[in-house]
């Protein structure tokens, strides 16, 4: 039996670094990030775009890495939670999650943080209703949402934005 290499050669930017990849057409972005690139922040959980644990940003927009083909990242910029900190300095959203104790088991946290980063980049002054609506697709089963919403407000404050009422 002959084995045909069906893999696609492509370049993508991951956390600001250009990466050359050879991926199978059916490879999911989450598996490439975790298995090939060792970026294990994004987690697999529901596997059907409902829970948000696998949230990463592609061209600034949050996507479910569990259900997006790696192929979709070709020539595009992917950002994961590993790319947020500047050396030892955490991103304001990460700092805010710590300050607000907005994490307990931490499984949803990387996805939650990436979703919040995307929201505050698109809508820095998002009000509580907008924040809740945006995070509707990120499920936490132990921390509780109140402290997560508190973290968003704290992040907005440190980032110099005044949330709309």
């Amino acid at each position: 039996m002959s084995v045909v290499d069906r893999r696609i050669t492509m370049e993508t930017s991951v956390n600001g670094r250009t990466v050359s990849l050879r991926v199978a057409p059916e490879a999911l972005l989450l598996d490439v990030l975790r298995e090939e690139l060792g970026l294990t922040g994004a987690k697999r959980s529901c596997d059907v775009q409902v829970c948000g644990a696998c949230t990463v940003l592609v061209e600034g927009r949050p996507v479910s890495a569990c259900s997006v083909l790696a192929w979709e990242a070709r020539g595009r910029a992917v950002r994961t939670v590993e790319g947020l900190a500047d050396g030892d300095r955490l991103h304001p959203v990460q700092e805010a999650f710590l300050a607000a104790s907005a994490l307990q088991c931490g499984y949803c946290t990387p996805g939650m943080i990436m979703a919040v980063v995307a929201l505050l980049e698109e809508s820095p002054e998002a009000g509580p209703a907008e924040v809740k609506d945006w995070l509707r697709g990120n499920i936490c089963r132990c921390t509780g949402y109140a402290s997560i919403l508190d973290a968003v407000t704290r992040a907005q404050r440190t980032m110099g934005s005044r949330p709309r009422p």
Binding site: R6, I8, A24, P25, E26, L28, D47, V48, Q49, V50, G52, T55, V58, R61, P62, V63, S64, S67, V68, L69, W71, E72, A115, A118, D133, W134, R136, G137, N138
Partner: protein, 292 residues
């Protein structure tokens, strides 16, 4: 994990059609993958070839083609519709519906064309598009065809799309001047149990309904207009609708309701009445110029 397949990325409609003809049932169309990839993960569909249509420029059109027709290319995402100023200003009912689709990640990749072609019965946009009287254009090897959305959606996960065809765009006629619409949904899962879309055209004095359109989705295999209720709404004072019009419960009458994971047929019928009444109240308040 997904089963193995090959990806093809045609850059023209003709190339896409040729690939459809070449692969037949071994291939399928792929855009955002927010429906297809999940189904493939569950083993509900196996294809050797995915035809990625996103490189086809014509499928990304979003704009007015004439004074009163919005054209939405099949590969335009829910997120693009949600953020479009044109859609928000001239098609607020569609914008309101798109904002409610699944979650922000699904909306970032999921396309309107994919949504319509997958014909998932528990979906939001088709219900609103029925009320807006949208039409779809499909391209096959020999010709293109234009169908009303109601003709295109033939059943649960079934459409009139031929094996060598692809959906090119959805045309949405501007709603009548002065009309007000609303889309409300209800559900306990990610997908809606019931969706209700209404559009009210007020009379010249803006006191009563001159014409009404009502559609209900998710309850049966395909979303459905409610012609008897639409007729009964003519002449009803907007104030009565805004206060909660009991006769709206008739929205469920004669509806082909299906029992499924989202609820029994009886339960879905009951919720249909409730959400039709609330959607009519919201649209009436908007028509009266009161806060939404």
């Amino acid at each position: 994990m997904l089963p193995p397949f090959d990806l093809h990325a045609p850059s023209t409609l003709a190339e896409a059609v040729a690939l459809r003809q070449r692969w037949g049932e071994r291939g399928t169309l792929y855009a955002g993958g927010s429906e297809l990839l999940l189904a493939m993960k569950e083993g509900l569909g196996t294809f050797d070839h995915l035809i990625d249509v996103k490189a086809i420029a014509a499928l990304h059109e979003l704009g007015m083609v004439d004074d009163r027709t919005l054209r939405i290319g099949a590969a335009v995402t829910h997120g693009a519709l949600e953020r479009s100023r044109l859609v928000a200003e001239r098609f607020p009912l569609l914008a309101e519906t798109e904002r409610q689709v699944a979650n922000v990640r699904v909306r970032a990749v999921g396309t309107l064309g994919g949504n319509v072609c997958f014909a998932e019965p528990h979906s939001d946009p088709p219900t609103a598009l029925l009320v807006l009287e949208a039409a779809v254009t499909v391209q096959g090897g020999a010709r293109s065809r234009r169908l009303a959305l109601a003709e295109f959606l033939t059943g649960s996960y079934e459409t009139a799309l031929g094996p060598d065809e692809l959906l090119v765009h959805v045309d949405v006629p501007a709603p009548p001047a002065g009309s007000a619409g609303a889309y409300l949904k209800f559900g306990m899962h990610e997908r809606p149990t019931v969706g209700a879309a209404v559009l009210l055209v007020p009379d010249a004095r803006r006191l009563a309904v001159a014409a009404a359109r009502v559609a209900v989705g998710c309850v049966g295999p395909v979303p459905a207009r409610r012609p008897a209720l639409e007729a009964a709404l003519v002449g009803v004072p907007l104030a009565a609708l805004a206060a909660g019009w009991a006769e709206a419960e008739g929205a469920a009458e004669g509806l082909d309701a299906v029992s499924d994971l989202h609820g029994s047929a009886d339960y879905k019928r009951a919720m249909t009445g409730v959400f039709a009444r609330r959607a009519l109240a919201l649209a009436a308040r908007r028509a009266l110029g009161k806060a939404a």
